[in-house]
Amino acid sequence: MMRQGRPTNPGEAGNDTLRTFSGHRGLDHEEPLLFEQNSDGRCGVDLPAPAIMPNRLGILARPGAIGLPGLSEPQVVRHFVRLSRKNYAIDSGLYPLGSCTMKHNPRLNEKLARLPGFADLHPLQPISTVQGALELINTLAHWLRVLTGMPAVAMSPKAGAHGELCGLMAIRAALDARGEKRNRVLAPESAHGTNPATAAMCGFSVDPIPADARGRVDLAALKAKLGPDVAAIMVTNPNTCGLFENDIVEMAKAVHDAGGYFYCDGANFNALVGRVRPGDLGIDAMHINLHKTFSTPHGGGGPGAGPVVFSQALAPYAPLPFVVDRGTGFDLIELGADAGDATPFGRMTAFHGQMGMFVRALSYMLSHGGDGLRQVAEDAVLNANYMLASLSDEMSAPFPGPCMHECLFDDSFLKDTGVTTLDFAKAMIDEGYHPMTIYFPLVVHGAMLIEPTETESKESLDQLISVLRNLARAAKSGDLTRFTQAPHFAPRNRLDETRAARTPVLRWRPQE
C-alpha cells in the first residue's frame, strides 16, 4: 500500500433551482435511452422486402429476437443531437487538458478523409487499385521521418499506447536477436500509466526512476539503476510536468553504454515539432499521437493513431505491414516472407493502420508546412508559459519555468481552504470551462496540468487566466459553496462514482 485515493463523494446538490414540469431545462433536454423509446412498428431505414427462399444457415439460424428498439429517423436524429448538447467540446470552448493536446480540428481534414478514393477503399483490394492510398501512407511516413530525424517509421499502431507496445516489442525483438535476456525497464515515477502497463504486457518488470528537485529525471539515480538486466528506459519528453528533460542526451548515452534502448513517450511532441528532432536526442523509438500533435479529432476518446519512429538499431524489427516505394509504384509488404532483409517482430493489427487518421494528419501537415509546424511548437510553448507567468502568484507552481507546452500547478495554494483540486476543477465547469488534467502527474500533490495549445488566442487565454485567478481568490476567501457543490450549471451535478463501481450497471435491461 498505498496509492492515495481522491475525493469521489458527490456531496450535496447545489441550490434547488426551479423544477420544471418536463424535467428539461431550456436547451438542456433530459433524454431517455434508445431502449426506452421503442415502438415495434418503427424503423429508421427503408429496405426492400426479402425474398421467400430457403436459407443456408442450417441449424444455426437465429431463433429469437435480438431485443433492439425500433425508432424512426427523426427520433434517432433528435436523440443524438440532444445527447451531443450535453458534451463540452473544443469547438465550443478552451479545453486545457494537460497531456491531451486539445487543439482545433480543421474541417478540411474531415472533408478530405471522406473522399471516396480514401474512405471507400477495401484494405485487401488488389495493390494496383490502391496506389494513391499507399502513396499517401508513404508521404505521411516521410513527413514523420523528417520531423523526427529518425530513419524508419511503423505506421500501423492504432493509438499512443499501441505505439508504446510496438516500440517495446521491437526492443524485445532486438534483444532476442542479440541473445540477451534483459527484463527490467526503467520509467520515471511521473510516467503515464500506459508506460508501466505496456512494459508489463511485454514481460518486463518496471523499476521507477526518481525525479530530482527540478521535476526532471535524476540522472545520477538513473545511472545507478542501469545494468546488464536493463532492457530500456521509457521517458516522456517533454515530461508529464511539462518540462524538457535537459539531461536527455546524457540519459541516452548512459542507457546505450549499458546496452539498453531508449523509448521516448512522444505524447508531448507538440512542444517540439519543427524545432527539436528526437533523432538528435539519441532516442531509439518514439510513438507519435496523430490525434494530439497532428490534430486528428479526439472523437470522445478515439479513434487515434500512434505511428512509431525507430532508430537504425530498431528499424529492422518494425512490424508488418509496411509500404515500399519501388520507383515504378508502391508495394505493401504484408508477410514476413516478403520483408527482404528486415526481420519484423510480427503484426499489431489486422490490415494497415488508421488510414482515416493518416489522411487527416497529412492534410494538417500540408496545410501548416514545415514553417507552420515550427510555429505550432513555438506558439504552444509561448501560450503555456504565458499561463504559467500569469498565474504563478495566485496559484502554486511546484517547478519554475520555462515550461514547454503545458504548465503544472499543485494544490498548495488551496491549503487550509477546504477546497480540493477536484472542487476547483468542478468550479471551472460552472465558469464555462473544461477543467485541466487533475491528479496527474502523481509526483505533485493535487496536480493541475494546463495545456492551452497553440490554437488559443491571447484573448481566450486572458479570459481563462482571469477566471482561474478569481477562483483562486474565492477559495482563499472561504467562498466554499462555489466549489464543494460545483458544478451547479452542468447537465448533471457530481455523479456517484462509488455507487457505479460497487454495484456496476453496465447495460440496460428490460423491466421484468
Binding site: M1, M2, Q4, G5, R6, T8, Y439, T498, A501, R502
Partner: protein
C-alpha cells in the same frame, strides 16, 4: 500482552493461537477512500511473508495487500464481496480480509504494535 500487529504497508494481523486474522488499517481505508471491491485469496493458498495475497480497490485507487506473515490461508471474508463498504465502516473488525495459519510466529517480531503503528502513521502526515 498485545495480539494485534501492523505492517508498514498498513495491514493488521490479530493473533488467536496460531491463526491470524488480517485486514487493512483504519488509516489505510481513509487514504483509499470509498472501497468498491476486494479480491480475496482462496483458502488453501500458501503464501510467503510480504507476497501479494489480495487486492483492494476504491474508485480512483487500487492497492495490493501483502501477507504480513507466511502461512496458509484458511478462511476469507466473503461477505466483503457483496458489501465492500464494511472495510470503510469497520476496517479493523468486521472488515477483515482473510485468516492465515502462521508458519513462523517469529515473523511477528518484525511488525509494529498498535502504539508503534500510531507513531508511524503520524510520521506520514
Amino acid at each position: 500482552m498485545t495480539n494485534i500487529f501492523y505492517t508498514q504497508d498498513h495491514e493488521w494481523i490479530r493473533l488467536d493461537g496460531d491463526v491470524g486474522t488480517v485486514g487493512i488499517s483504519n488509516y489505510a481505508q481513509e487514504q483509499l477512500g470509498d472501497i468498491v471491491f476486494v479480491e480475496l485469496p482462496q483458502p488453501g493458498t500458501k503464501i510467503g511473508q510480504g507476497e501479494e495475497i489480495a487486492v483492494v480497490e476504491s474508485v480512483k485507487a487500487a492497492s495490493e495487500i501483502y501477507a504480513p506473515v507466511s502461512g496458509e490461508i484458511i478462511d476469507a471474508n466473503n461477505a466483503l464481496e457483496g458489501a465492500p463498504v464494511t472495510v470503510n465502516e469497520a476496517a479493523e473488525s468486521d472488515g477483515w480480509f482473510f485468516k492465515i495459519r502462521l508458519a513462523n510466529t517469529s515473523e511477528l517480531d518484525g511488525l509494529m504494535d498498535a502504539a508503534a503503528y500510531k507513531t508511524f502513521v503520524e510520521g506520514l502526515a
